[in-house]
Symmetry: C2
Subunit: 196 residues, 2 copies
């Protein structure tokens, strides 16, 4: 489990062996089964989660009973609700596993200790936050300016691996497009590819 | 001009008079007329901009000729394209003035100097970034999960002042809803209010 994390972090952050050992010593290992709920709406997001293996989904359950997917978190990525984590307030989101997954969890207290002790980890954490923010802005732009066809194409190009691993209705939910529209878009694309 | 900024920053950041004077000494004052372009797509976003008076708009011009509005920046708020500013890469966005505006500009070099010298300004800048990120996530959720009616209601409630100051087609562009749909939503709302 820690080998995955070491292979991920080593090229990204300049850490001594001792610092890496310290970082790993603060993490809790957790295995979750497919469909298992990890964080529930109304709870406080108390951990930064690194996904060593598997796939998590962050979604909002609306009053109309529909699920709206905010994020897919595959292996070698992080999952955290920044707003809930930073302010230690209840989250609006649920997090569950779409595949059997292996995770490393750092509590806020431990992670705060870590970034206070090791500036390189703070800088790395800041970089992750910056790029999450940029990606979020990019997604807003996509949401307001792309057609359903463009959203679909963009998703396939940006996340080909996730596209293969999740059902189409979840892609539709992530894109904010109805399942019917996305099915139509996909069929038109198949037809076009066959015709060419 | 600096009085507006002082009134804004004083309750938010604990600065000595000297620090405040230093901060203001690094700012450039700029006045722009309504419709004047301030940042052009392809340029690098070189400044953090504080709006003392007026209203700016950040938008993307798509190949189809349509404008998609990412942000309205009224008085007492900041305007910056983080991705372009942080990486000093070309921005995808245009920024123009929707009203005659008065601005304070800090170059990246000067602002970097400022946050290195005064930790309270760094902490404040980090807080602004955190809440911009949270707002961006909130907007993604709205984009993918709200109906046109809910988007319209949310905008009126969240930004009543901006709603009064910009034409409806710009609200539609910000929300990612067609002008026709938003006109229909507004008419239905008027009718409902009259009937009640």
């Amino acid at each position: 489990m820690f080998e995955c994390f070491e292979a991920y972090i080593t090229p990204k952050v300049d850490l001594t062996k001792e610092q890496l050992r310290y970082m790993c010593s603060l993490a809790t290992v957790r295995k979750v089964r497919r469909r298992q709920l990890l964080v529930k709406e109304g709870e406080v997001c108390r951990h930064k989660i690194f996904i060593s293996k598997g796939l998590l989904r962050t979604y909002r359950l609306k009053d109309d009973g529909n699920e709206y997917i905010m994020r897919f978190s595959p292996e070698n990525s992080w999952n955290v609700d920044h707003e809930s984590y930073n302010n230690q307030t209840p989250t609006k989101y649920n997090v569950d596993a779409l595949e059997d997954s292996e995770l490393l969890l750092w509590s806020k207290e431990d992670f705060d200790e870590l970034i206070a002790a090791i500036p390189a980890i703070r800088a790395f954490s800041d970089r992750i936050k910056e790029s999450s923010y940029d990606a979020s802005q990019e997604r807003v732009l996509m949401n307001i300016s792309y057609t359903a066809e463009e959203k679909y194409e963009d998703f396939i190009t940006s996340f080909p691996d996730i596209f293969r691993r999740v059902p189409l209705h979840m892609v539709a939910s992530y894109l904010g497009v109805s399942r019917e529209t996305l099915t139509r878009v996909r069929q038109a694309r198949f037809k076009q590819q066959k015709d060419n």
